[in-house]
């Protein structure tokens, strides 16, 4: 069969953007989507907690203390007669708030510092990185505990304490990304056209470093959530009666032999939330950075 050579062959391919491709790859990853679904469902449940359960997190039913799971109290009650299911839902608010707000602080501090170090280079970079080295010499969680005792007891100060320690990772990451991107041709082109430092950083460098930043933040969120739970478990996290999974675990731990389920519900919830974020983070890494894929 003769081939028509005078009609040009048109390769039809829908236009794909980097982010569009990443979303397609993420959607194919069932573990990541499962993690995302769990996080979204938990967030909705936490926000709509009053609609799901009619018990408040601090309501004490002293005639119904330490009950096992029943139709009335789905996960039983604690030693003050508070409904465990309600405390678990409201405690999710604490966990998710810690995860999200600490990352705001981390971005506000870590991104500019990393960007300045990475773009300016030279002496500025040297000073900033020496300071980062000192921060790295501190044991993270112990520094958070110290800051926690300095800053005082409110939950906002807890966000601040965790954020003040965790920004170092992001600033190192941003610096490394910027150093690598700085010598690329498109940056030279932008400079040749008269672009100024801050403009180039904002318009060209940061958008290209966005993938690794998003991945890093996704992994930082569960770490912050874990830190809050660990601190509340020791008794220096959020103050009662604010419900926290860590504090619930501590309450349950005292009754581990008689009422083990009191401990199991918050412990399993915490484990599932951490797992969901890890699956999502792994998925995002595979989706945004196909080179890393194994």
């Amino acid at each position: 069969m003769a081939v028509e050579i005078n009609t040009p062959v048109v390769f039809e391919r829908p236009p794909h953007t980097l982010w569009g491709d990443a979303i397609i790859r993420l959607r194919r990853n069932y573990f990541a989507m499962g993690g995302l679904a769990f996080i979204i469902l938990l967030s909705l449940a936490a926000i709509c907690a009053p609609l799901i359960t009619h018990y408040g997190f601090a309501d004490q039913h002293l005639d119904q203390i330490l009950q096992g799971p029943s139709a009335q109290h789905w996960m039983g009650t604690d030693q003050l007669g508070r409904d465990t299911f309600a405390r678990l839902l409201y405690g999710a608010r604490t966990s998710l708030a810690v995860g999200i707000f600490t990352q705001f602080i981390v971005i506000v501090i870590g991104l500019p510092i990393g960007a300045i170090a990475g773009y300016a280079g030279g002496r500025v970079d040297n000073y900033i990185m020496r300071f980062v080295d000192v921060m790295y010499a501190f044991p993270d969680i112990l520094l958070i505990i110290l800051l926690r005792s300095v800053l005082g007891g409110s939950i906002y100060m807890l966000f601040l304490a965790i954020g003040l320690v965790a920004w170092v990772n992001i600033s190192r990451l941003v610096r490394g990304q910027l150093m690598a991107l700085k010598s690329r041709d498109f940056v030279s082109a932008a400079k040749a056209m008269g672009g100024m430092g801050p403009y180039i950083t904002w318009r060209h460098l940061l958008p290209n470093a966005l993938g690794p930043i998003i991945i890093s933040i996704t992994f930082n969120i569960p770490r912050a959530i874990f830190t809050e739970a660990a601190l509340s478990y020791i008794g220096i996290g959020v103050k009662p009666p604010t419900p926290s999974w860590g504090a619930m675990i501590q309450d349950g731990f005292n009754l581990i032999f008689s009422k083990p389920y009191m401990l199991l519900f918050p412990a399993i919830a915490l484990a599932l939330l951490m797992l969901a974020f890890t699956f999502l983070g792994d998925g995002l890494r595979d989706a945004l950075d196909p080179k890393m894929r194994r």
Binding site: V134, A137, L146, Y233, P260, A267, A271, M274
Partner: protein, 305 residues
Amino acid sequence: MGRFIIRRVLWLILVLFVVLLITFILMHLVPGGPWDREKALAPKVIEALNKRYGLDLPLWRQFVNYAWGVLHGDLGISYSYSDRTVVSILAHGIPKTATLGILAFVVAQAIGIPFGVAAALKQNSAVDYASVLFSTVFASIPGFVLGILLIVLFAVVLHWLPTSGWGSIQQLIMPVFCLAALPAAQSARITRASTLDVMRQDYVRTARSKGIMESTVRVRHIFRNSLIPVVTVAGPELANLITGSFIIENLFAIPGVGRLFVQGIFARDYTLIMGGVLFYAITIALLNLVVDILYAAIDPRIRYE
């Protein structure tokens, strides 16, 4: 190499000094003092105590005195344990924390590395999927949550192991496993990734084409090279095990440094807190130094000027 080590050690001393200074400032910003009791002490008593411990001096003098003492191996006297020196308190805690950390490290590598290698050699097999799934799960479940689940299962339900304490081997099993889970998972992940990477290198193909036995290729060419990234993270992992064990120490009532540190914070025992921070900072710094040196020993391509 010698110059590299000297430079690193000098830098380390400077960093430790700054760490101490920052800790000192933070500690004195904390409201309240070491003499806060349920029943307030008489002002005269507090005055006498302050004089005895040198707390009446200006802050900078206190810091200079403290730093001078540290250089002589004297970390001061604890405020909360009557008249015991911080050095002797830490000397009781360090062996426990170190035993726990080192055991957990050994267990973690003994589990993680073989699983990682097995998963990579049989990529996309059932072994591989199981290894990836387990390492993801254990990498994300916090140690103390795992500890609680273990306590419920082995101590409460099965009565096989004691819930807490220190001294017998049975008491060590659960805390060591809880600490080891995370680094084991990380090691398995990293070993798998680096083995897969090494397996595709040209020198592996060359070795096979020369007719070297498959087992020799695996051990000499693949395994040895795939360990480089594993060693890189081994230092921070061991440091994390030693510094991060405080929550496991609390959970299992093990009187290690971590537990002492937390008690020190609650009691505002300034000298004990400083001693703890110093111990942790030195541990982290030294382990990182050891890793850098080991790194050059394993990988001849790496040279320090």
